[in-house]
Symmetry: C2
Subunit: 406 residues, 2 copies
């Protein structure tokens, strides 16, 4: 009788839903603005006061009364940004003012310095003036009580600026998942060391750590574990003790040396052990002590593609980002593509725009070990089962990993 | 006579070319793989050896001689990944093998365990076998001597994995620009402090620091400088002493309190002091001691948009990335847009795809202070001078800041 895996093949959708159901949103912590970039808000942010909080000059120039029309006005003083004065503009008078300064009492407009000339304490206004010209009214940018950012938003430069603008020096965000990363396999060697016959360099620990960082997690390398029950049990215990998530690679094929699944079964629950996809069929997902454990295949492309499809969503959800799915686009193949007839295959591609249409070009040979297929790729093409051949110009779905251009 | 700036208005193109001509590529340093994410390669990377370095099993199964065809073979031992053996496969024999293990001498194919059954030291091969089946030949992923990454590449997860795969534990990258960030203005107050009348919170130092970080630079906050010659001179000297680039915001309008330009003129050279654009017209660029100094406008949107157009390219070039331009796309306006008739205006927008066409929707009011216009924006629309009105469905150019989706 042929050997078959005891783990049923599950669909990609089932696998992802199972993972999300076991990836709880982490707690929150307060961080200062200078450490907030990339973090996910754990609270709605309400502006406690208006921005600007007072009517302010939008330009350098003169604060005037619009009803005075064009013509000469007597200068009664100056109002600089951040410096207060008791000046009051009366009909026929003006106050020099700089951008951002509070509009003095009595004034209802600002005239840009470019439309004026000043001499001997008088200023000539050389244009028609309307009430409100170049005045920033209270709340023009943000109203008091306005919700400026929503819980679940990822903080970029503009969001960080908004927090500062409403006066917050710190903000409540979700904790970042701490992710233990473990490579398994007797054949693996640390980069920088000489290879012995039969050995290869461990690439996954480094690529997965970088992928964890980009996904907002905190990678913690646990090194290489040899293919022995003892080594793996010890490494797993250490990984679970200090982290929220464990990601391993290697050692989940069908051979005698798949030691990981029995350990996971003994310590917790294996939710699935095979997925109908390529690459990534041996992806295994378990929980131990309620913590998600991803056992990814050892081939470098399989590891990164299955990270993208399964681990990244979990890490984003755990830090409170419920808007994690990648944009999907319908694109056309720039050339014919061979693909797996029985499993959904994710091929690496460059999506670009030509004559207003999205085209996709595969990034060379798509072997599971060929990391070069990810270099220059800005998308994963999702190729469902079929007859194994898609002619040029076929429409397929692309998951966008990077912006596309011409 | 009206007041006019002594600085001529220059075009955006002239401004950018001037900046790039004064933003020298920084030196190089060696970083370990665990710190390489996001850095820019300062050298081509040549694979010193092939990957895989030996013919290896692509699957768990049995190493056989293909010419033996289907049928029974005697098992003479096992070859595990990373463990060596002196096994030699002779006609009629087979060796158990795990994924990644070196193919034993004599064998020329691997049969997946799924297509076999083993009993009493014999294995039944249940399919046709061809030479090379499930064997990864030497150099399948990377050939010895192959250039796997080019100087100037930015390192993402796949690139970091490639470096590890070819055995490098460290890599030569360009230094990151250290960027001093200074806010200027008597009206500015630190977030977290109570506001006095006439004051507003400093947002730019925080948003610009985040933008510097995303652009690969190292932000160093120099706080708020008051509007005095002394304060600004002191702050500038400190900024120049320890950094490669200085970015200030505020204090570059036309008023009496533009103290910065005279200081820059005295200490170095002001290359331009005004640009024909909106927002960002007062952007000023100088060099002092060969170091680029950007004096950005104080309004928060003006500061971030001019950072995107002028500072980011400089920071990318300085760290060796010559492929910094954002992707540009032709998109159609989802609605009519009012814009500046005389200056190229950059409006913040969300670009999306609908029925195969790119559409752009402006993100609300486009005031220079309204940071909310950047929240949810994935593009800047570049609207050239014209009659100030673009009807719905007009074609415009979008600079993509983020991936677009449906």
């Amino acid at each position: 009788m042929p050997v078959t895996s005891p783990y049923p093949l599950v669909t990609i959708e089932h696998a992802l839903n199972t993972i999300l159901a076991h990836s709880p949103i982490l707690g929150t912590e307060q961080v200062s603005l200078t450490r907030a970039l990339g973090r996910v808000l754990a609270e709605d942010v309400i502006a406690p006061a208006a921005v600007p909080p007072f009517p302010a000059a939008a330009k350098d120039g003169y604060a005037v009364i619009a009803a005075d029309k064009a013509g000469r006005r007597r200068i009664i003083g100056e109002q600089l940004a951040g410096r207060l004065s008791d000046l009051r503009v009366e009909p026929g008078t003006a106050v020099r003012i700089t951008t951002g300064a509070a509009l003095p009492k009595g004034a209802d407009a600002v005239v840009m310095v470019e439309y004026t000339s000043e001499r001997d304490g008088w200023v000539e206004i050389e244009k028609e003036v309307r009430a409100g010209d170049d005045v920033r009214p209270v709340g023009q940018d943000i109203e008091a009580g306005q919700r400026v950012l929503e819980r679940g938003s990822t903080l970029g430069p503009a969001e960080v600026g908004l927090l500062a603008a409403v006066g917050l020096s710190a903000v409540q965000v979700h904790c970042q998942p701490r992710v233990a990363i473990l490579s398994t396999g007797d054949e693996l060697r640390e980069p920088g060391q000489p290879l012995q016959p039969g050995q290869i360099y461990d690439a996954n620990r480094f690529s997965l750590a970088a992928a964890v960082e980009l996904a907002g997690g905190v990678p913690r390398s646990l090194g290489i574990a040899l293919d022995s029950l003892d080594a793996l049990q010890h490494a797993l215990a250490k990984a679970l003790a200090e982290n929220d998530v464990v990601v391993t690679s290697g050692g989940v094929s069908m051979g005698k040396l798949d030691l990981l699944k029995p350990i996971l079964e003994a310590r917790g629950q294996v939710h699935f052990g095979r997925v109908i996809m390529k690459p990534g069929k041996p992806v295994t997902f378990a929980t131990v002590d309620q913590k998600p454990i991803f056992a990814l295949p050892g081939f470098p492309v399989s590891a990164l593609v299955s990270f993208e499809l399964f681990v990244r969503p979990a890490l984003r959800q755990m830090q409170g980002d419920l808007d994690w799915p990648r944009p999907r686009l319908t694109v056309r193949l720039a050339h014919a593509v061979q693909h797996d007839a029985h499993r959904t295959e994710y091929q690496r591609a460059r999506v670009y725009v030509e004559k207003g249409r999205f085209l996709a070009q595969i990034t060379g040979a798509q072997g599971s070990g060929r990391l070069l297929s990810l270099v220059g790729a800005n998308a994963l093409l999702e190729l469902p089962p079929g007859n194994g051949f898609l002619p040029a110009d076929s429409e397929v779905t692309a998951l966008l990993l990077q912006p596309i251009g011409m």
